[in-house]
């Protein structure tokens, strides 16, 4: 870890002003990713801007509140544990609660925050080891994973520069739920649909979100989706707990008279970003809610998947995981 300056922000405006004035600054909330990466010298911020005090000064940052349209507004400093066990989340958006509880450990969930979780960085072995080349960590040095150990790497949204997997569970559920990220800076507030918040690596894997200098995540809005009461998160991993997804599926399903009226599908563990699949959704709407139709949608969801040396199994695994999630929420599994 390198020496760094530390300051505590007393308002979101002050926080974003401080960040905008120092390109080497990082916000810190739970610190569950950032401190880990600082110890590895993967992150070497010159300044940490602690936003935890905003929980006192700006109560909306830790609140889960109803919105006028029947949706929910979630403050960026809401802890993962609190969000997961929130009765309103469990009742209306079980997929989100399940995704949160499938992630990390109890201790980490008690520290991690919604805003921080959206900024979680990849577990790519090569990204995390400063002795190895990595275009994400040091642009232009090359990608060591493409011809290295890549069993855990992405098959969707990859580029010739980067195949690092987006590691989170919560963002996958939020992608399925049409979540909107609210960000604030000295220039004011703007909203970004979660599916557009993260970007695929392309030629610039060092860029992971559309956040601009000084912008601070202040919350996430979930629009009303009454039928998301029937939603589900299925995560497949190498051990029963405390492991990142090899494949996961977040689904919400609305079935009427045996036919799919509405559906949301997002995949985790296989994409370079939380992977919403509109093609699979479009194909399912109007179809009978059968395993065969789910499988056909899964084929579409993985269309264009690119395997590397060790991760070809993920393509079939992701399809089966999605089918299992859909059959489970349909009451068929």
């Amino acid at each position: 870890m390198r020496p760094f300056e530390y300051s505590s922000a007393t308002s979101t405006t002050a926080a974003s002003r401080a960040a905008g004035a120092d390109a080497s600054a990082r916000f810190i909330a739970g610190g569950t990713t950032l401190l880990d990466l600082m110890k590895l010298n993967v992150e070497t911020p010159g300044r940490l801007i602690d936003i935890n005090a905003l929980a006192v000064n700006e109560p909306a940052m830790t609140a889960i509140t109803e919105t006028a349209g029947g949706g929910l507004r979630i403050g960026a400093l809401v802890r993962n544990s609190d969000l997961a066990w929130s009765p309103v989340i469990q009742a209306r958006f079980p997929v989100l609660s399940e995704a949160l509880l499938a992630g990390a450990s109890g201790q980490i969930r008690n520290m991690a925050t919604v805003g921080g979780n959206l900024m979680q960085r990849t577990r790519c072995y090569y990204f995390r080891d400063t002795a190895m080349p990595c275009n994400k960590r040091e642009p232009g040095t090359g990608c060591a994973a493409i011809e290295g150990h890549n069993r855990i790497h992405a098959v969707l949204g990859t580029s010739s520069r980067c195949i690092a997997t987006s590691p989170g569970d919560m963002p996958v559920a939020m992608a399925a739920l049409d979540a909107v990220v609210r960000v604030r800076s000295v220039r004011g507030e703007r909203t970004i649909p979660l599916v557009n918040f993260h970007v695929t690596p392309g030629a610039h894997p060092e860029r992971e979100t559309v956040l601009q200098a000084g912008e601070l995540i202040v919350g996430v809005d979930l629009p009303a989706m009454p039928w998301a009461r029937r939603s589900h998160y299925r995560k497949v991993r190498d051990r029963a707990s405390y492991a990142f997804a090899l494949a996961s599926a977040a689904v919400a399903l609305d079935v009427a008279a045996g036919r799919v009226r509405n559906v949301r599908i997002a995949l985790g563990g296989v994409g370079t970003k939380p992977w919403r699949s509109p093609a699979a959704e479009r194909a399912l709407v109007g179809q009978p809610a059968t395993a065969a139709a789910f499988r056909a949608a899964a084929e579409l969801a993985l269309q264009g998947a690119v395997p590397h040396r060790d991760n070809a199994f993920k393509i079939e695994l992701a399809k089966r995981t999605l089918v299992r999630a859909l059959t489970t929420v349909a009451g068929m599994a």
Partner: protein
């Protein structure tokens, strides 16, 4: 059944041998009062951090320490250019290995120590270490064993011969009506004790005190003394508590003499703790193996011939052999057997002992092959093993000092419900889940070394007796403090609360390495013997009042006795091994390939059990590790660079609580009067043996998929499921 076996639930009353008393140091541990080697408060302490290589093979072309030296608080940066020359003696395992001590510019593996930074705080030392700039002349490393099998060689003579031949192999195979012949592979596995390697070195003039996380206090003292060139009597080695060893702390690795060197260079005490990443490379790992097992049998299941060939990797600088084929020499009564061990040199860190070295990997291959033979013969796997039961040691012909394996099969099968097993893969189901039952044998040799113990008996003012017993053994988390106090209490006829057992200081009488499951047998015998010697000196029986009366007549009302205790000729007469049987149930998701292990039932014959609670914990630990070995563990080495890629506890998977279901342990009654004075066989390692095969066999029973390369991850099951 229960009359023939003793389980952890059969409470032995009192506090003596066998009683399931709590750890005597339990309260200290859970309250933080137990001080581990990095926690000893030392005035004026400084902090050393290793700089490790980022190439696997080559030489250091230049090393720029100026940025590191300019970090505030940095006291010294030691590299091969300014390190004092050491009289490094030749390797002599287990304690002395081939080390990286900054004596030259050569790099032999990725992660090798190449510099030491000492500063006034850990943070400054860590920061400075990351600012040491190194340029290398790098060569292309050899990192893939399977691609370099043509370089395999016969290892130099070890304790047991590398190759054996019993009978006429071709003739034996010619008699076979059914043959199985398959390859099995196990990956590199790292030890990952909770406590990393940690050394605190304190000089006082020409005298050195080292607080070190070690499994071998005496060997560590001798190794550090010889390596840095001071007399052993000038070195005091202390290890009061050790947070897990599992083999990687059985040797003294580079950081120990480097800490001593650094402390001498800066003229202040130095603390050096390895980071988790530095635990991969410089301090050993279980080597990978590629094994071939061939078994020929007649249709009734009688084995006519076997062979077991094992290839494992070692480093460029040292020959370490994973003796995977040794188990096949003693487990089944085959008239014909050929075994071989070969090594392939790779540019990686030297491998080392890891819990049941040889047996853990060897039983995976052998007991998987036995299951494959049972399938081929359409025979029950337990019946097949009983058909080939070795009544005497097949290699030497010697009788076993004791062997309760038949009883282990019977008790284990009954407690597990083995009779309910359907041998047809996929026949047992629960919705999307395929259920499988598997079993395997477990075994580990019974070893013993010389040990010396001291006993001091003191009469107190109330007519009671206090005993102090000392020996320089170590408690690596196994419960040595507790069971030795119980052994002494039993021998003296005292309640355990009146016995104080001390260990972990090289000033005490010597004890051997806590490896090879021999601490209880070696040190326990010495503790027993010294207490018996003390009673003999007093001329009394094991009775507190008699001891008190005898002490009252002595000046100072006390007695101190020191005795050596060593194995005699019994090993020439008997073959000595522990045995067990492991039964597992797995649940495999038919579509997703997830493997869960809801229950494990195991029965062991391990001689006398010193503490039923701690012994059960030991077996739990071994089985949990076996589950990890079966399903999760694998050290990933980047093929191009020899770099360890998953060198942390998030990416290197070991079981979490959610992976572990019910574990049912039975110790069958086994009285062995031949092995040692206290009749114990040692239990540190047998628990992991057989577990991986038992799980792989259960997965076959569930799915029809035979996985022969560990770990048995879901990608090896998904798509291959045949039911």
């Amino acid at each position: 059944m229960t009359d023939m076996s003793r389980t952890s639930r059969d409470i032995v009353t009192g506090t003596g041998v066998g009683a399931p008393i709590d750890r005597v140091d339990g309260r200290l541990k859970v309250t933080g009062g137990a001080r581990y080697s990095a926690e000893i408060p030392v005035p004026g302490i400084t902090y050393a951090v290793l700089v490790t290589s980022t190439i696997a093979v080559g030489r250091i072309a230049s090393i720029d320490t100026s940025a590191a030296e300019s970090v505030p608080g940095v006291l010294k940066v030691i590299t091969h250019r300014n390190a004092p020359r050491l009289p490094v003696p030749p390797a002599n395992p287990p304690a002395r290995r081939v080390l990286a001590l900054l004596q030259d510019d050569k790099v032999h593996y990725n992660g090798q120590p190449i510099a030491v930074v000492v500063a006034d705080t850990l943070e400054r030392a860590t920061d400075a270490a990351s600012r040491v700039r190194v340029r290398y002349d790098a060569a292309k490393p050899v990192t893939v064993m399977s691609a370099n099998r043509d370089t395999a060689y016969t290892p130099p003579q070890q304790r047991a011969p590398s190759d054996t031949l019993r009978g006429d192999y071709a003739a034996g195979m010619a008699k076979a009506e059914v043959t199985v012949d398959h390859g099995y592979a196990t990956p590199i596995e790292n030890h990952n004790p909770m406590e990393p390697h940690a050394t605190t070195a304190v000089w006082d003039g020409d005298r050195l005190t080292v607080y070190d996380a070690t499994q071998y206090v005496i060997g560590d003292r001798d190794a550090v003394a010889r390596t840095i060139g001071v007399p052993a009597e000038n070195v005091r080695l202390v290890a009061y508590f050790v947070g897990g060893g599992f083999g990687c702390k059985g040797s003294m690795w580079s950081h120990v003499p480097l800490a001593a060197m650094a402390a001498r260079e800066v003229g202040r005490p130095v603390k050096l703790v390895l980071s988790r990443r530095q635990m991969y490379g410089p301090v050993g790992a279980r080597p990978q193996t590629e094994q071939r097992v061939v078994i020929g049998a007649t249709k009734d299941g009688s084995i006519t011939a076997m062979r077991h060939d094992s290839v494992s990797h070692t480093s460029r600088i040292e020959d370490y052999v994973e003796t995977a084929a040794n188990v096949t020499r003693m487990l089944y009564a085959t008239p014909v057997l050929e075994t071989t061990h070969r090594l392939v040199k790779l540019d990686v860190g030297t491998p080392t002992f890891q819990r049941a070295p040889g047996e853990a990997t060897g039983t995976f291959a052998l007991e998987s092959a036995m299951d494959e033979l049972a399938v081929a013969l359409k025979m029950d796997p337990v019946a097949l093993r009983l058909r080939n039961y070795a009544e005497t040691d097949p290699e030497s012909g010697k009788p076993f000092s004791s062997k309760a394996l038949r009883e282990c099969y019977r008790v284990g099968a009954e407690r597990f419900g083995w009779a309910r097993r359907n041998a047809t893969p996929g026949a047992m189901r629960d919705g999307n889940v395929l259920i499988g039952y598997g079993m395997a044998s477990a075994t580990y040799p019974t070893l013993r070394s010389k040990a010396t113990a001291l006993c001091r008996l003191t009469a107190d003012a109330n007519g009671g007796v206090r005993a102090l017993v000392q020996t320089a053994t170590q408690d690596i988390g196994t419960g040595t403090y507790t069971v030795m106090a119980q052994v002494a209490a039993d021998a003296l006829g005292l309640p355990v609360e009146q016995v104080r057992f001390e260990l972990g200081d090289s000033r005490m009488p010597p004890s051997p390495v806590s490896g090879g499951s021999m601490t209880a047998a070696s040190t326990g015998s010495a503790v027993h013997d010294v207490c018996v010697a003390a009673l003999k000196e007093l001329g009394v029986a094991a009775d507190e009042r008699a001891i008190a009366a005898a002490l009252a007549s002595r000046s100072g009302r006390n007695l101190e006795v020191k005795t050596d205790s060593a194995p005699g000729g019994e090993r020439q007469q008997y073959a000595m091994h522990s045995f067990g049987a492991v039964f597992t149930e797995v649940r495999v998701d038919r579509d997703l390939g997830e493997v869960r292990v809801p229950r494990v039932t195991a029965a062991y014959g391990v001689g006398n059990v010193l503490n039923a609670k701690l012994a059960t914990s030991q077996m739990h630990g071994g089985i949990v590790w076996g589950i990890g070995m079966a399903l999760e563990e694998e050290t990933l080495v980047d093929q191009r660079t020899g770099r360890y890629m998953n060198a942390d506890l998030a990416e290197y998977h070991v079981p979490v609580n959610a992976d572990i279901g019910a574990i049912d342990i039975t110790f069958v009654r086994e009285v062995d009067t031949h092995i040692n004075p206290i009749g114990v066989k040692g239990i540190g390692e047998i628990g992991i043996t057989g577990v991986a095969a038992s799980i792989a066999n259960a997965v076959f029973n569930a799915t029809g998929v035979r996985v022969r390369d560990l770990p048995l991850t879901l990608n090896k099951v998904i798509g291959a499921t045949r039911v």
